[in-house]
Symmetry: none
Subunit: 194 residues, 4 copies
């Protein structure tokens, strides 16, 4: 049916428009009217799909995180050893960010924002389990350094953010496999047991 796809279309268009504008201007500087205009829908339509601007932001955050998680963990389970798993995860993550800079910037900007409600954070928290499990496995096998799991997760996350931001500023390295390889090795050495 046409109507069904059209409807989905509007909701989707609003979310996409919102992300585009939020990344560029921050959501405080993005009026809902601008989002509606960018999505080519009426102002009221936005509120038909999302009760408040905050709900829109949280929905966007959740959907982006979920998509991120699905994409970046794809195939990781099938890798044979820890290093290969970590490498795949690392490359998946970096590529995801380079392919969808808007999504990455959105998550990075808002993951610590007070606008992301506690409920939303909990909705997402399942993902963290995956990373913690992987770190625990690595520690058990003696492959990873023996530091607290949550600390390692934290440091790891920040380090990947660091790399990605660097690549955003240095586009010339984005497709340089030697460079990426070096960056990964730096990362790996920082967490692997010697």
């Amino acid at each position: 049916m046409i109507s069904q796809s059209k409807l989905e279309n509007k909701r989707e268009r609003i979310l996409l428009a919102a992300r585009r504008l939020f990344v560029n201007q921050g959501f405080h500087s993005t009026p809902t009217s601008a989002i509606a205009r960018e999505a080519s829908v009426a102002n009221g339509t936005l509120f038909h799909y999302f009760n408040t601007k905050e709900e829109l932001i949280n929905t966007l955050y959740k959907e982006t995180k979920r998509s991120f998680f699905t994409i970046t963990t794809a195939g990781v389970e099938n890798e044979k050893n820890i290093k290969r798993k970590v490498r795949l995860l690392w490359y998946n993550t970096v590529k995801w960010a380079l392919n969808r800079p808007q999504d990455f910037l959105f998550i990075q900007q808002y993951s610590n924002s007070p606008f992301i409600s506690q409920l939303t954070q909990e909705d997402i928290s399942e993902h963290i389990g995956f990373y913690h499990d992987l770190i625990d496995q690595g520690k058990e096998k003696g492959t990873l350094k023996d530091i607290p799991t949550d600390l390692m997760y934290q440091l790891t996350t920040y380090q990947i953010y660091g790399i990605i931001n660097y690549l955003f500023q240095h586009k010339e390295f984005q497709n340089n496999s030697t460079y990426l390889s070096m960056a990964f090795e730096f990362y790996w050495e920082s967490i692997a047991k010697k």
Copy 2:
């Protein structure tokens, strides 16, 4: 003269009030009227000292960064070797953050914010030279890994942010010297040449 100190006093009070409120509620959710109230000055007084709200935030950012730099680099020059220099810098930084969480959170929140104008960033950029020089020295002496200076600076910065945020969430480790020592060693190993 009393009036002189009083004036300085008001400017100072406004800056302190602003930081307190910005950290808790963010820049956009903090009306200038709230800052004035928190600082116990009249609404208009705020605009005597700062032409716009944005100027206030930039001033605050610059002063905080400068203070941060002065405090955290104190004594580093006098240390004999790279590891000692890096260690002192690391400890200074961590302690500074734990002593002035508001300042740290403020910098962390706003360092990538669009409110911090380009001009302000340039005003601060001199500091970066200090870190780059240190990294270059380390690389020359063969103490630090041979990866691009700016990349190492970036990763290093993010890693320290990571540690500090971790300590904020785990107050029980803040005065645990064994723990801090472990964290530093982890950090050091990630940048030192084997």
Copy 3:
């Protein structure tokens, strides 16, 4: 036919839902969407039966008034003398209000409201004739005081509103026949010629 009764059903459900909500929250604080929800019909359905929100309220007012008139005047013609007629009218009115507080409150609230159009008021005005005739009869027979008919009607109406509102606040008297009898006598004495 089922469909016919169903339709009537919907119209009726909308009217009932509207009254319930209008009494509790007032006309302006009751969105048509809330009425539709309360009546379990779609938003657009409401506009099938009533062209505008205002038409809905006028219809409701007219139907309620008509029902009120029919019920409260029942049997009055058959009473032999003025006092008995007035007493029956009085009791009918009080009982009607106590049995259908929503209806009473609705009429009271909206009888002077600007939402009730002139047309609606005229549509209802025939009822007033009944009361005026009764008063005129009473005056002719020397039973009622000799004050202008419309003034007496007005004062009488307000006094009954007063009693009913009092009984709403003092439920303990609602079934106390001694009390009701006293209230009626007070009422009667205020209009009867001595």
Copy 4:
């Protein structure tokens, strides 16, 4: 000082404008922007003096009620007997309403409105004591009928509303002392012991 009077002026102008518009259109149909325009102040100025539209309404209600009470009870204490007291109160009230129809209509319209907060009602409740005391005195002296004080207060209030509304519709009687006298006697007989 000019500024002082000017400021008072604006607050006052807003209240007056609000009353004017509320009486004509009801406050749901009166946007704050219209009030501001009518008062010749900026939109924001209204919110400088009243935090919300509701606060404005409640303030207006309180001030009007207070003024009503002061004016209508003036001199009543000095009258010698109950009938004279009641008569003065009655005439004061009727005259007040005829002189300031806007005020009367405003109070009548909103005294049962959900917009008048409980707090406001309590703020006003002291006035009721005055009337109750007067009724009690009358009952003790055997001048007034022996019906519950609060019931008599209620009926009395409604009856006066009735008279006033009647006079609004029949301007020809407003200055007819014979007519007014008759109306008062009707009132008095309804509450006086025979």
